[in-house]
């Protein structure tokens, strides 16, 4: 532990600076309104907070449903050791998305309105309900971890009894929610650039969520192995890498077919702003990871898997930002760049995510093999306190 102290302090300074900036930006947002705290306008009503915090936030939480489905529905028991970090990321991700929504909504104190004021014809209504219900489901799926820590047997047994219906509800809600974020843009056929507008947007958003679920699990496990000094489940990650390359390939084929059939593929090779960002997304974030994962030496090495997972995550973040920002700029007739306050809030939310993950990993039984060690530590501690008293 002592060796990592200097790095820890540096991160603490960064964390502190980000949090101070985020708090100041929060004050600006809630005392002076969206106009003073964002570069949003009548021409460009959705910016970074929707494009990154909400669209990417939900996407990055996809590991939760991907892994619970694999382990509990498809009975792939061998992935069980990595299910808890994935669930924690998903639960945290959704809580942070709700937090971000409070910043973005013009009247955040009415966030509960969709509960009682219904409009089932609205995709946003579906999104609102999926966020609410799935956050509850994730809470219940994650709760056993807390009850285990508190050694509360009764609620643990109750939750265990309903675990399968919960998992099924979670998978269905995730499917609806991930795809509905793509459906949001179905209604702007003449506004969203043809490189991204497609009737298949919901399918693309769903498929990419599965890919991200796998990539994020590889990313998380690699990071956790590094920072929590636990052993890496390399064979498991190699399996995930193999599934990932299949999902990525299916997504790519579908995406390119769709572009070709809509006669939009040629736009990708017309030099310009949109095509550059499209190529960045597709070449660096899609084709390159596929190529890398097809090389056995890369797929079998921890570093290779980690780098590929990071590429996939960055690639799909670019995709979500392209759909929500790049692709909407031409029709809006304006260029949008986030204001520092928007960046500060987003950075603060991401930093909070990392910090809470770290704390949860430290105090809750997230990594099973660490448990044995912690239990013996605890036993030693109680002994100490007995001696002291």
């Amino acid at each position: 532990m002592r060796i990592s102290m200097p790095r820890l302090t540096l991160w603490k300074i960064v964390f502190g600076v980000v949090m101070v900036a985020a708090l100041y930006a929060t004050a600006v947002r809630f005392t002076r309104g969206l106009g003073a705290s964002t570069h949003l306008s009548d021409q460009f009503p959705w910016g970074l907070w929707i494009g990154f915090d909400v669209l990417c936030g939900v996407m990055l939480a996809a590991g939760g449903f991907t892994l619970t489905a694999a382990v509990h529905i498809f009975n792939m028991e061998r992935f069980k050791p990595i299910i808890r970090p994935a669930l924690l990321t998903a639960f945290l991700g959704y809580l942070l998305v709700v937090m971000a929504l409070l910043f973005d909504l013009g009247r955040s104190y009415r966030i509960w309105h969709p509960l009682v004021m219904w409009n089932p014809r609205s995709v946003m209504f579906e999104v609102a309900w999926c966020v609410m219900l799935y956050t509850v489901v994730l809470g219940l799926e994650f709760a056993p971890v807390v009850f285990e820590r508190l050694r509360m047997g009764r609620p643990l047994r109750i939750l265990h009894g309903i675990s399968i219906p919960l998992v099924i509800a979670g998978v269905i809600l995730s499917t609806l929610h991930q795809s509905s974020l793509g459906s949001l843009y179905l209604i702007v056929p003449e506004k969203l650039h043809p490189l991204w507008y497609s009737p298949l947007l919901p399918v693309f958003f769903f498929l990419s969520a599965i890919a991200i679920g796998l990539a994020m699990t590889i990313f998380e496990s690699s990071m956790s192995a590094k920072y929590f000094r636990k052993q890496l489940e390399l064979p498991l990650l190699q399996d995930l890498g193999r599934i990932l390359v299949v999902v990525l390939a299916a997504y790519s084929v579908l995406r390119l077919q769709d572009l070709y059939h809509r006669d939009a593929l040629r736009l990708a090779f017309r030099p310009g702003y949109e095509s550059s960002l499209f190529l960045l997304e597709v070449v660096a974030g899609l084709l390159l990871p596929i190529a890398l994962l097809l090389i056995p030496r890369v797929r079998k090495s921890p570093t290779g898997l980690y780098v590929t997972a990071v590429l996939v995550v960055l690639g799909f973040i670019t995709n979500r930002l392209n759909v929500s920002i790049t692709g909407m700029e031409a029709s809006a007739g304006v260029r949008y760049l986030p204001k520092w306050t928007e960046l500060a809030v987003t950075a603060g939310i991401v930093a909070a995510g990392f910090a809470i993950f770290g704390l949860a990993a430290k105090y809750l039984p997230i990594f099973p093999e660490k448990e044995a060690a912690r239990h013996s530590e605890e036993a030693a501690e109680t002994e100490h306190s007995h001696v002291a008293s």
């Binding site: 809630f30 009548d42 498809f74 009975n75 409009n119 999104v127 269905i172 179905l186 209604i187 003449e190």
Partner: protein, 255 residues
């Protein structure tokens, strides 16, 4: 039954009295500075655009099947039976999906308020409900703005196109754009010159999302059955394997 507004740009003289009447009716400030503004905003619901001696109005089109009504998660927008599309600010959560989705970019936001509202022309819903014309049509000195039944106004517009084809672009804007609108436009120059999109769909945009949303109940039922079924099969296999293992263990134990 459903009311509408016909704006004939060839009759307009650009006096902007409609802008002023609109501001008064909506209790918004109006002065020379605001009169010079050429974009709709939270404090200016309609604008008269000028290109040389040609004019064009922009205002909420009060669509027949409005995109804003369909996209609003809390149903803050409503198409009234008489034609106007109205906004209930008490419901609005401020997600601004209406602004993103509106094919005419009509809804505008009070960006500089801490508790902002969406603002737009509501075709003087209260006046129309009381059987009166909109403020802008009532004040128009030349008859460029005409209020009436949508079906009647369509006939008037068709007649004008028929009798004076040389004066007009041969199209009534709003007759079928995004499924038809309650505001109908006639012009002597292409509508695109004044920023109207000419590539709009001729069926309501809400169909695009409704096609997907209407499948959700089926998807949920099918998904539940499929996932439950897969779980049952995969776990049954496990149980069988466990039972067989126990059996063979027993038999080997007996030996």
């Amino acid at each position: 039954m459903s009311k509408a507004l016909l704006y004939d740009a060839t009759l307009c003289i650009g006096c902007k009295l409609c802008e002023q009447a609109c501001a008064e009716r909506n209790q918004l400030p109006y002065d020379d500075k605001i009169a010079a503004q050429t974009v709709q905003s939270a404090h200016k619901f309609t604008v008269v655009l000028t290109h040389g001696d040609k004019f064009m109005r922009r205002l909420c089109m009060n669509c027949e099947d409005p995109t804003c009504v369909s996209v609003c998660p809390v149903g803050a927008f409503r198409k009234t039976a008489t034609g106007p599309v109205v906004y209930e600010e008490d419901r609005c959560i401020g997600c601004r999906y209406c602004m993103l989705a509106c094919p005419f970019n009509v809804p505008k936001y009070e960006w500089n308020k801490v508790l902002p509202r969406v603002r737009k022309c509501d075709m003087c819903a209260d006046r129309v409900a009381a059987g009166r014309p909109t403020a802008c049509t009532e004040i128009c000195p030349t008859g460029a703005n005409k209020f009436g039944e949508r079906a009647d106004l369509l006939q008037v517009a068709e007649q004008r196109l028929r009798e004076h084809p040389e004066q007009y672009v041969n199209h009534i804007f709003g007759v079928s754009e995004v499924g038809g609108t309650a505001v109908l436009l006639l012009s002597s120059v292409p509508f695109a010159d004044f920023g109207y999109r000419t590539d709009l769909m001729h069926e309501p945009l809400p169909l695009l999302t409704y096609r997907v949303l209407s499948r959700i109940p089926d998807l949920v039922a099918l998904g539940g059955i499929l996932l439950g079924g897969i779980w049952w099969i995969t776990h049954r296999r496990e149980q069988v394997a466990a039972a067989e293992a126990a059996e063979s263990h027993e038999t080997s134990g007996k030996k």
